[in-house]
C-alpha cells in the first residue's frame, strides 16, 4: 500500500470519528435535561467539529486532489466513511449518550496520548490540542456515569442498560489492519494493542465505582474499517449533508 493511501485512510478514520460524534451530540441542543448540560454537550460537539475540521483538511492535503474539509464532510456517502460504529449510534436517552461518551473519550485519551509522540508533525500537534479537550470530555462523562450508576433505581437501570447495549461496539475500537501496521512501523500511528489494556482497566474501574457490571466480551460488531456501517449512519448523513446535496456549493 502506498504511504499516501494509508495515511489518507487513517486520517479519514480519525476525522470521521470526530465529525460523526459531533453531529450526534449536536442533536441534543435544546433537549438536554438541564440548561447547563445542554451547553456542556454542545461544547463537546464544538470541540469535536474543530478536530474534525483539522483532520479532514489534512486528509484533503494528503490526497492531493484539491478536496477541502467541507468536500470530504459533505460529499462522501456512507460507504466512504470510516468512523467507528460506536460514534454513529443514536443518542438514546441521556444514560446512553453518557455511556457512549465514556467509552469513546477513554479510548481517545489513551489514543491521543500516544499520538502526541507521532513522527507526523500534524498528528502530533492535533493530538496535543485534542488531549486537553478529551480530558474534560472524559471527566464529564465519567462523573455522570458514576452519578447515574450510584443514583436511583431507575438511573442505575438505565445506565447499566446503556453499557450493556453499547458494549458490542467497543471491540471495534481496537481493530487494526494493514493501514495501521504500515503506519505503526513508520512511527506515525498509535498501536491499539498497547492501549487496549489501559482502556479495559480504566472502564473497569469506573464501572466498579458506579456499582455497574462490566459486560462479558461476547459478540463484537465490526465493519467500519471497510466502510460498512449500522443503519444509523445513512440517516445521520441525510440530515447532515442535506444542504450541500440539495444546493451544491451553497454559501452564506
Amino acid at each position: 500500500m502506498a504511504k499516501q493511501d494509508a495515511l489518507f485512510k487513517y486520517t479519514l478514520r480519525l476525522g470521521d470519528n470526530a465529525l460523526i460524534l459531533s453531529q450526534r451530540l449536536s442533536e441534543w441542543c435544546s433537549y438536554a435535561p438541564l440548561i447547563e448540560e445542554d451547553l456542556a454537550l454542545t461544547n463537546l460537539s464544538l470541540d469535536m467539529i474543530g478536530r474534525a475540521q483539522a483532520l479532514l483538511k489534512y486528509a484533503g492535503e494528503i490526497e492531493g486532489m484539491g478536496k477541502t474539509e467541507d468536500t470530504l464532510a459533505f460529499r462522501r456517502s456512507e460507504r466512504q466513511y470510516y468512523n467507528n460504529l460506536l460514534v454513529e449510534q443514536p443518542n438514546g436517552d441521556f444514560a446512553f449518550t453518557m455511556a457512549r461518551q465514556l467509552f469513546i473519550s477513554a479510548f481517545e485519551l489513551y489514543f491521543y496520548s500516544e499520538m502526541e509522540h507521532s513522527k507526523d508533525k500534524t498528528f502530533a500537534a492535533i493530538a496535543a490540542k485534542t488531549l486537553k479537550e478529551v480530558k474534560y470530555h472524559l471527566e464529564h462523562a465519567k462523573d455522570w456515569v458514576i452519578r447515574m450508576g450510584d443514583g436511583t433505581g431507575e438511573s442505575h437501570y438505565r445506565i447499566q442498560h446503556a453499557v450493556n447495549e453499547l458494549w458490542m461496539y467497543t471491540g471495534e475500537l481496537f481493530e487494526m489492519d494493514d493501514v495501521d501496521k504500515d503506519l505503526i512501523e513508520q512511527g506515525i500511528a498509535t498501536d491499539l494493542d498497547a492501549i487496549r489494556p489501559l482502556w479495559n482497566k480504566y472502564i473497569g474501574d469506573v464501572l466498579e465505582t458506579a456499582a455497574l457490571i462490566v459486560p462479558e466480551n461476547g459478540y463484537m460488531q465490526t465493519g467500519s474499517r471497510k466502510g460498512i456501517h449500522t443503519e444509523h449512519l445513512g440517516h445521520l448523513l441525510c440530515e447532515m449533508q442535506y444542504l450541500q446535496r440539495a444546493y451544491p456549493d451553497a454559501k452564506w
Binding site: P33, L34, E36, L39, A40, D143
Partner: protein
C-alpha cells in the same frame, strides 16, 4: 418528593486574568461542588473569558434586605465631609 428537577443553585465568580478581582457572572444549577465547577465553566467560560472560577452555594450567600437600604446606605449620602473632594487643597501646599 420535590418536583424541582433543576438541582441547587450556585453563584459563579470568575477571574479574567491572574491577580484581577473575581467578578460575579451569574448562577448555575448543580448537585455537587465538582459539577458546579464544570457547569460554571461550560456556561461562563466558553469563549476563553477566564483563568479561574469560584462557585458558592447560593444558600450560603448572606444578602442585605432591600428594606434595610435606608438604614445601611442612606446615612452616608448626606455627609459630604466623608468624600475627599469635600476638602479643598490649601494653595501652595506641596506635601499633602
Amino acid at each position: 418528593m420535590s418536583t424541582d428537577t433543576q438541582l441547587d443553585t450556585w453563584e459563579v465568580f470568575m477571574q479574567s486574568r491572574a491577580g484581577a478581582n473575581f467578578i460575579h457572572q451569574g448562577s448555575i444549577h448543580a448537585s455537587d461542588k465538582k459539577m458546579a465547577l464544570q457547569n460554571a465553566r461550560d456556561t461562563y467560560s466558553r469563549r476563553g473569558e477566564g483563568t479561574s472560577i469560584w462557585v458558592v452555594p447560593t444558600s450560603e450567600i448572606i444578602a442585605s434586605s432591600p428594606d434595610d437600604a435606608d438604614m445601611l446606605f442612606d446615612p452616608s449620602n448626606d455627609k459630604i465631609y466623608r468624600m475627599p473632594t469635600f476638602y479643598t487643597m490649601p494653595e501652595g501646599a506641596k506635601n499633602i
